[in-house]
Amino acid sequence: MIRHLLKLVWNRKRANALILVEIFFTFLVVFAVGTLGLFLWDNARRPLGFDWQDVWAVRVNMQAGSDDTFTAEQVETAARLVREVETLAPVEAVTGAMMEPFAFGQYTSGRTVNGRRVSMSVNEVTASFAEVMRFDVVRGRWFQPADAALAWRPVVIDEDLAREAWGEEDPIGRRLGDPDPKSPEPERRVIGVVRDFRHHGELSGPDNFVFYHKRLGHPQDRPPRVLLVRVRPGTPVAFEEELTRRLQAVAHEWSFEIAPLAQTRESAFRLRLTPLLVGGIVAFFLLLMVALGLLGVLWQNLLQRTREIGLRRAIGASRAEVHRQIILEQLLLTTLGVLLGTIVVIQLPVLDVFGSVLRPQVFGSGLLSASVAMYLLATVCALYPSTLAGRVQPAEALRYE
């Protein structure tokens, strides 16, 4: 039967070509939106690697000349700020960092490890960062204030980076980045590994992460751009005002911007979900349009085939068989469209468009769910016309020319 229908579909290629093209493009749209959704969902269910609740970020605007020009006085003021905040009653812990988690923008670095280029996101944090953000070190150790005296610079990496750079081998004590005599960068060695640290939030994709050690009050290290303050649970928002006042008292010329991480996290969510939402709404209406259009076209095609169906009924097809045949024909056409679409979409990973951002499982399930969605769509569209086909009265269909 399938061969018979295939022949029928093929011999009607002129009538079917447009439907096929429509199915093909619809598949691409469903795949794109579906994969984006799956990508975000897959990310969202993975552990974040730190605790953001009751942490406030204080962005420090110290009016420095530029990134690498800062004065000893500024370094000293920043250290005093941290000491001042530590003394406040609602504060549990304070740390300084280059960036706060969830913030827009990123600092990435590429290094050659064992001759292979590995890219990673970087944050430079002071020793109390682990205490404020509450995460554990799974291997080795975290920074200590005493590390300031080391001749080399210690780094802590996350599991993603450990895996990509050294596979199953123990990364502790390894050099991050092959020696490069041209580079002024100091030698950096791994002292610890933490679980995947998802700096950009729950919805972000896989990302290698490395922490540099920022020495508070050290004349060579840039003062922190942001202070992360863990406050006691239940601290009222009104504390922000007092905090600002205390900070302002230490550094008159600087300005401060306080935002709970919860708030930054929400705007990060919005930033990543908006494209999905807009795309999803547009895709939904496109899909609705295509579904109605296909339904109309199939219906129309069927009206033209009333006599063929009457004939099939006359020579022994039951109602159910006719019904099934129409749906099967549609599914065959859908298979062709999906196959075509898959061939096109498969080119993306083949050409390495996504890099390591899109996990193969996510790509696979995107492909699968788009195919399933197309079959569902086709079945739904064919259901009504095929029921009509089942109702064709052979005597009437064959009576008149």
Binding site: I19, G65, E240, T244, F256, F285, L286, Q300, N301
Partner: protein, 417 residues
Amino acid sequence: MLGNYLKMALKVLARRKFFTFISLFGISLTLLVLLVATAMLDQIFAPQAPESRGDRTLGIYTASLRGEDSVYNGFAGYGLLDRAVRGLPQELPGVENISLFTTARAAISYVGGQKIESSLKRTDGAYWQILDFSFLEGGPFTAEDDAAARFVAVINETTRGRFFGDEPAVGRTIEVDGQRFRVVGVVRDVPILRVVAYSEIWVPVSTAKSRAYLKEYQGNFMALLLAHSRADFPQIKAAVDRRLDLAEAHIPDRRMFQTIDAGADTLFEAVSRTLFEARESRPELLWALLLGLAVLFMILPSINLVNLNLSRILDRASEIGVRKAFGASSHTLVGQFVVENVVLTLLGGALGLGLAAAVLAGLNESGVIPYADLRLNFRVFFEGLALALFFGLFSGVYPAWKMSRLHPVQALRGRTV
């Protein structure tokens, strides 16, 4: 004759309600999406108040500093922009005015224990001459206020409401980030998508907490150059490029950065420059991207329309036969289909326009985009409509024409099973 066609067309469309509905749905939905998207783009790029002179304005919106292994992509500092534009009006007759100002940054105030977060922009006096704000109260601050570092501020309508309820604000003071400003003017709210004009509070550049910004190359400043006409653009761009080349010698971190990539761009060129990280502005790339997206989006609706039309016509093969048998000429038949498709497209267009107006009003109302003031772009509406007409006629009339040339007996008999 046309009235007759019209009556027939409406009858046919009313009889085939389902097909009419799907076609209308497709056409109006496609136009809706196009119109909403272009309303957003217009809000960013089109010369709308207060940037009513946007069509003869150039700006240095971002800058890249490059060195061997370091790249800075971001906003420029005051020092860099000052070197790039200071004194240009005297040097080039084509330049009418210049302005330096910061991007809008969050600033915190506390009023009666309540935290108020506002966007704050620091500007010079010329800013208020180049842009065309509409003042509800008072007026702008001046170049003189800036030179004397007076703590004065212009606020928008919403900020006035936050600080003072509905009472007049001019003459009263606000405290922002620990600094106190006297309000001199209140302006109408500005949409957040307008990067140059948008803020909630505007204060003089010189009120910054330290003078360090004066020498910065990296920072959060932008520059605007108002030209007499667009014809002056090439000359201005060349002059700015020359000055930027000279400015390279004064980069504060010469060890890290040696070259500057920036230039006087229109806003569209600037977005293209940042988006594609191009060293020169390549507006055609952004055009290509936008057009590509539009085409990608419109493929499906077009195929859908063509598909529907084709089957609509095939279905009427026998009708054509009957009409020919009764003496209708090919011309009248094709005319009938043309009118039908035009009516359908215009109906869909009207529907799409209405829907788009409703959605834009809803977006403006909802506050999803702060201070949004999205408007219909009628040019895009007519272009979309023309496209729908093209596909409608192409897919509806061509097969009808072919069919109308069929011999009546053939048409009557239709196809074999």
